[in-house]
Symmetry: C2
Subunit: 353 residues, 2 copies
């Protein structure tokens, strides 16, 4: 046999094919579907092998591996975070991911995850808000108008029912970009001159800024009773967005406390500060929002199970969209013990004199 | 811009291209080159960010991520180990790996590593033996004649000067396969009827069996004074090949003690049993073999730095071999903050009504 068998081939979703997949499914349908897959996986939370991500930090940023497994399927994501990348025309965050069969260890999907992470992060935020935001929330402040913001706005529209978004970024060009991209989305889009102006009248406040620093994007006086804060940008050690006073009067919800205490807003608090795990809110064993005056915070850092859900979603929709190619990633010798003999496929004989 | 820019593209070496690369370079030249790269990297050992691999164990096997970084370049390998895979016509071990630029987090190489791992493992073994084997060693026993064995035999020929290999496997068909593959290699290949027969007169004993169990491939009485043992197969918790008595009378050399104590032969010993780190032997701060009667053991488990060296080697030889294609792995919006706007490349407008 001279050519790779089907054992050698792994479906690969390139950036171009991910865009095609999104268009073939429809972005609203996909955001809702991703939120469903995440919710399903959070409802079987104890069945996952969970570990804080493996991070390699440098002065410029971080490279992380985020693995998890449900015992039948294994998944991991490679993701970087380099706030200064945009200056060189590069993405702050790029990612790719893989699913594998636990029984054999063989990969079954390799896919770009830069775009997919943006979608799953937005779906996760909106899913959390479904449980935590004030009832009948219609207005969201979106502070930080970078690569993630349109996805957040569309997910909150599709999943939470948000009708108005109030945008603010220190760079007006970023705000203009979001406004332009959301034209025709049906959302009422308002550009604001300050964070203070953006939060005025907002039921939900989403913060998604990129500075790798302990910043105060939201001061305590800016957050009124009853608000839900969706804090996305504080996601690595030394990088936070909320003033600690907000955290002290809020009820805090997290994905995986072991990771969030290192990376999230709560790195500002004592290690035993009480937090509620979202999977327990979803399954009804913990309470979400309890009254209309409560300030709730989803201290989002992104957890491997969400990527696992997103990878499952893509795998399950490959067939119907056809948005993939197969790549020859795995060695497939005719006799599995004869890896060396397989080299003969590329040359008639091994020269080894 | 409708098509991916060069920022989106990552060189990808498929299995087919890895075979072409090996043939274009020559397998001996490549084994020697890999050993050189590994030695260079071990000589700057303190400059690496080291961590035991992140393993996900199941009843059937293990899936591991092995990351490391030298501060300028980051690398990781995905690798599985599933001893029962061969029954289904699959590889026991498959792998792929990635190099990335620490300054930006952007991947710069994605490559198959099933074949590459076989080569780097053999190069590492032979490199260690260059420092540890008895002087003028010419004969090696090769116990376990699976996918790794031909690579071991060729590396020991090219790097250590081995002229005779004495083969044994519980399955005679495996031995016959190695014999067939090494015909014309210039090695004197002898098939043996037992492990005892194979080790007779051998200067070096390589064990490379695949059972996921504490086995005794080598009993204490089988190892004569002065032998060097290259123990490859004991490489995960509960999987060993040597009788503990051998370890008690041998000088033991390891790659990275923190990982080897969990995964290697020395998991059978107390956690403070003395071991010597190979990087210190290479740089002259620790002693290798001290006399002709000493029994030396390289308790090989495979460490991330070796994969890093192998990835560097492939990256440095991509240009001359041309054995790669570029894949569209990274999102490259025209404006880096406008990830959402890039979706327009795949469809004229986002429908989001």
């Amino acid at each position: 046999m001279q050519t790779p068998s089907n054992k050698a081939l792994v479906p690969f979703v390139s950036v171009d094919n991910m865009m095609k997949l999104i268009h073939r499914i429809g972005i609203d349908t996909m955001l809702i579907g991703l939120a469903d897959y995440i919710e399903q996986d959070f409802l079987r939370w104890p069945s996952f092998d969970k570990t804080p991500r493996v991070a390699s930090h440098s002065a410029e940023g971080v490279i992380e591996l985020m693995p998890t497994s449900d015992g039948a399927t294994y998944g991991f994501k490679y993701v970087n975070g380099h706030p200064k990348n945009t200056r060189g025309g590069l993405q702050t965050v790029t990612a790719f991911g893989l699913l594998a069969d636990v029984a054999t260890g063989y990969p079954v999907l390799l896919t770009e995850m830069t775009i997919l992470t943006a979608l799953r992060t937005a779906a996760m935020s909106a899913l959390a808000a479904k449980y935590l935001a004030p009832k009948n929330a219609t207005t969201m402040a979106m502070i930080g108008n970078g690569a993630q913001s349109e996805f957040q706005c569309l997910a909150f529209r599709a999943i939470v029912g948000i009708r108005t978004v109030r945008l603010y970024d220190i760079d007006p060009a970023a705000t203009a970009k979001v406004r332009r991209n959301l034209a025709g989305s049906g959302l009422n889009v308002i550009a604001c001159a300050s964070a203070q102006e953006a939060v005025t009248g907002a039921d939900i406040i989403t913060t998604c800024t990129a500075d790798k620093a302990n910043a105060t994007i939201l001061g305590d006086n800016m957050v009124g009773a009853g608000a839900h804060i969706n804090a996305i940008g504080g996601d690595c050690p030394g990088k936070t967005e909320l003033h600690a006073d907000i955290l002290h009067r809020a009820t805090i919800f997290v994905e995986y406390p072991e990771q969030t205490r290192i990376e999230g807003e709560i790195q500002q608090l004592s290690p035993d500060h009480p937090v509620t795990e979202l999977w327990q809110v979803f399954n009804g064993t913990a309470r979400g929002r309890q009254n209309a005056d409560q300030v709730t915070v989803f201290d989002s850092v992104g957890f491997a199970v969400e990527d696992f859900s997103a990878l499952r979603y893509v795998r399950d929709h490959l067939g119907e969209t056809g948005a993939f190619v197969e790549i020859d990633l795995l060695a497939d010798p005719d006799d599995p013990r004869d890896l060396f003999g397989m080299l003969g496929r590329a040359a008639p004989a091994i020269s080894a004199a």
